[in-house]
Amino acid sequence: MNKTLLIIEREYMSRVKKKSFIVMTILGPLIIALFYGLIIYFSIQGVTGTNNKIAVVNDNKTLTEQLVSNKNIQYDYVKKPLVEMKKSLKGSGYDYVLYLPEFALDKPEGIQILGEKQAGLNLSGKISDQIEELIRNQKLKESGLTQENVDKLKSSVDINVKKITETGADEDSSAGASTIIAYVAGILMFMFIMLYGIQVMRGVIEEKTSRIIEVMISSVKPFQLMMGKIIGIALVGLTQFILWIVLTTAISTVAVKAFVSEDDFKESTKVEQSVGKSAAASAMQDNPISKIQKSMANLEVGKIVTVFLFFFVGGYLFYSALYAAIGSAVDSETETQQFMLPVMMPLFLGYALSLSVVTNDPYGSIAFWLSMIPFTSPIAMMVRLPYGVPDWQLALSMIILIVGFIGTVWVAAKIYRVGILMYGKKTNFKEMIKWFSYKN
C-alpha cells in the first residue's frame, strides 16, 4: 500500500506541476466565465440596448388602429409621403421607414420596410407579427365586435411548470434550466472521462516506450503500478474540477458585475414598466439571469455536485482501467486505434443519446437503462439528474457502477501485467484473451 501511495504521489505531482495543467486550470474558468458573461451581456443588450426608431407612412385607410411602440421598436406615424421620407431618411433620426400601402384586408401586400441597413429577421418578424395582429383586430371589428370585446379576446398565457415531489408538495421547476444543467453536466462528464482516461493510457504507453516499466516492476507489482497511476490521475482530474468550480464561481461573479452594470438593470425594469404587463412578463422570461438564478434555487445544487463527483470518479475508474489495458497492449499511441474504438463507442453513444433521447424524455425506459448500464450511466445519470431521479434508481446505478469498475479493473489488471512486458509484438484481441490464461 505504501508503494501505491508513492506511485500516486508521483503521478499526481508530475502532472499538477506541468505547465499545461496550470494553464488549463486558469484558462478553463476564464473561458467559461467569458462565455457566461458574454451570453448574459448580449441577452441583456437584446432586451434594452437596440432601440429601433421607425417612421410609419400609412397610406392605408382601413387600418384605423396604430402600431404600438414597445421596448425595442418605437413607431412614429408621419404625415409625409413615402418618396419624401425615402430621401430625407438620413439625418431624420429614424432607422427605418415602414410603408403600409392601401390593401384589401384579405390580401395584405406591398408592405415595405426601408432603411440604410437591411432590417434583421428578428426585427421584421416582430413588426410583421404586430401588423398581423392589427389586421386581425380590424377584421374582428368589421365582423361586428366592439373594441371592448376585441380587447377582451386578448389573453396572455404564462405556463408555470411545476413538479410534484415525493412528499406531495409541488415545487417550481424550469424545464429550460434543467436542460441547460443537464447538458453542461453531460458534456463535462464526457470530457473528463475522455481526457483523463486517455491520460492514463498515455502514461502507460510512456512507461512502456521509455522502458522504465522494467525497472518499476522489479520494485512494485503491476497492479500497484496500474492502480497508482489510475488513482493519481483521478486526483489530478478532481483537483482540476474543484479548482474550476472555485475559480469559475469567483470569476463569474466578477464578470457578471462587470458586464451587467446597475444601469442595465434599472433600464430594463423601466422599459418593462412602460411597455406594460405582458411585455414585462416576456422580458422576465428573456432575462437569463433571473431564469438561471430562479431555477438554481430550485435544483439541489449540492446534490448535483456530489452526484457528479461520484459519477465522475466511478465513470473515470470504469473507463480508465480499460484505457490502461489498451496502453499496456501497444507499443505506441498510433497502434491504439483498433482497441480504442470498442472503448470509445459506448462512451460516445452514451453521450449522444443522453443529450438527445434522455433530455427529451428523462423518465423513459431508454433513459432508465442508459443510466443503469455502467458504460453509459455516468453521462446519462448526470443528464437525468436535474429532471429528478428517484433515489432508488440513483442508488442502484451507483452500485452497478461500482461493481462495473471492479470488473473492468480486474480485467484490465490481467491484460496489463502481461502487456507491459511485451514489446515489438502486434497485439490483437485474440492475443489479449490468451493473456487471461497466463498465471502471474
Binding site: K3, L6, I7, R10, S14, E206, E207, T209, S210, R211, I212, I213, E214, V215, M216, I217, S218, S219, V220, L421, Y423, K434, S437, Y438, K439, N440
Partner: protein, 301 residues
C-alpha cells in the same frame, strides 16, 4: 544464497524454461549466459518476482522467495529506461523510496554516488538532456542504491563507452568485494572472463552447462599447444607423442599447432625436440569462453 530449483515456465505454446536449476553462492559473480531467446530474461523475471514459475522453487538465503526479498535484490534490466520528463535526482529518489529507503537516507546515498561517479551537477537535469551512456550511469546508481545483497545486471555494458564501462566494472568489483553477489546476464564473453567466477549456460530453455569458469575452461582443454622453434626437425619422428594440426613457416622459424596423444605430456614433446632445434615459444591453446559458448550452443542443435 540463491537457489533455483527445477523451474518450469510455460507461455501458451512456448516453454521458456524447462527444469532449470541453479546455485548462486554468496559473494560470487555469476554469469548467466545464453543466446537471445534462450530463457535468461524469463529466469531473471522469476528471480525478481516479476512473474512466477509454473513449477519449481526459488530460495533466497534459504527462505522461499517472498515479497520481502524485493528490497534485497537490485535489478538492471536489459531494456531499461527512465521517466523522460523527471529530474534525475527526483527520479532516483523515487525509485529508491519504492525499494523502501527513507527519503533522507536515499538523498544521502544519491549524493555519495553522484560524487563518486562524477555526476554532481546532474540532480536537476532531465533525462532527455542526458546521453545514453549518462542515462546508464543513472540507472546503475538506481539499481544499487538500496544496497541489495543480490544485484542482477542484464547486459550492463551495452551502451557504455569504454571509459564509462571501465568505471562501472570497477564499481561492480568493489561492491563484490564488499559482499554483494552478482548475477550477470550477457552474451559478451570477454566481460564474462574478466568478471565471472561461475557460469551457467542456458540454451533452448534448458541449462546445458554449469560450473566455475576455471573448471569449465580446464574441461575444455584439448591438450593443444602452439610450438615455435628454429632449426630442422622431421615431424614424423614425434608422431608417437603428438599429432600436427597446423604448420607455418615464418622467417626461418617454424610454428606448429600440436595435439598430444593420449597419455603423453608436454614434457615428452620437449624432450623429443630439444636435441634437434631451439625452442622459441610454447603456449597451451586454452579455449576462450566464446569458443566454449559457440561450441556448446552449436553442438546442442
Amino acid at each position: 544464497m540463491l537457489s533455483v530449483r527445477n523451474i518450469v515456465k510455460q507461455y501458451a505454446s512456448h516453454r521458456a524454461l524447462d527444469q532449470v536449476s541453479l546455485e548462486v553462492e554468496h559473494g560470487k559473480i555469476f554469469g548467466l549466459l545464453g543466446p537471445n531467446g534462450a530463457g535468461k530474461t524469463s529466469l531473471i523475471r522469476i528471480i525478481t518476482q516479476i512473474t512466477g514459475p509454473d513449477s519449481g522453487e526459488v530460495f533466497f538465503n534459504g527462505q522461499p522467495l517472498n515479497a520481502n526479498h524485493i528490497s534485497q535484490i537490485g535489478y538492471l534490466p536489459e531494456e531499461r529506461g527512465l521517466y523522460k520528463k523527471m529530474e534525475i535526482g527526483e527520479q532516483i529518489l523515487y525509485l529508491a523510496k519504492l525499494k523502501g529507503l527513507s527519503s533522507q537516507e536515499a538523498t544521502k546515498r544519491i549524493r555519495y554516488w553522484f560524487e563518486k561517479l562524477e555526476m554532481e551537477d546532474w540532480w536537476k537535469k532531465k533525462v532527455e538532456d542526458l546521453s545514453k551512456g549518462m542515462q546508464q550511469k543513472v540507472q546503475f546508481v538506481a539499481t544499487i542504491l538500496h544496497q541489495p545483497e543480490l544485484i542482477i545486471l542484464d547486459e550492463p555494458f551495452s551502451g557504455f563507452d569504454p571509459v564509462n564501462a571501465d568505471i562501472i566494472k570497477n564499481e561492480i568489483l568493489e561492491l563484490n568485494k564488499q559482499g554483494a553477489t552478482f548475477i550477470f546476464s550477457t552474451h559478451r564473453m570477454e566481460s564474462v572472463e574478466e568478471l565471472c567466477d561461475h557460469i551457467a549456460l542456458i540454451h533452448h530453455s534448458k541449462k546445458i552447462l554449469d560450473g566455475s569458469v576455471t573448471e569449465i575452461k580446464s574441461t575444455y582443454r584439448s591438450n593443444t599447444y602452439w610450438l615455435e622453434y628454429e632449426g630442422e626437425y622431421n615431424l614424423l619422428q614425434g608422431d608417437a607423442i603428438f599429432s600436427v594440426l597446423e604448420q607455418k613457416q615464418l622467417a626461418g622459424k617454424t610454428a606448429i599447432k600440436i595435439q598430444l596423444r593420449p597419455g603423453q605430456s608436454v614434457n615428452q614433446v620437449l624432450l623429443a625436440l630439444l636435441p634437434h632445434v631451439s625452442i622459441q615459444r610454447l603456449d597451451e591453446v586454452i579455449p576462450t569462453m566464446n569458443d566454449i559458448f559457440i561450441d556448446k550452443v552449436k553442438n546442442v542443435i
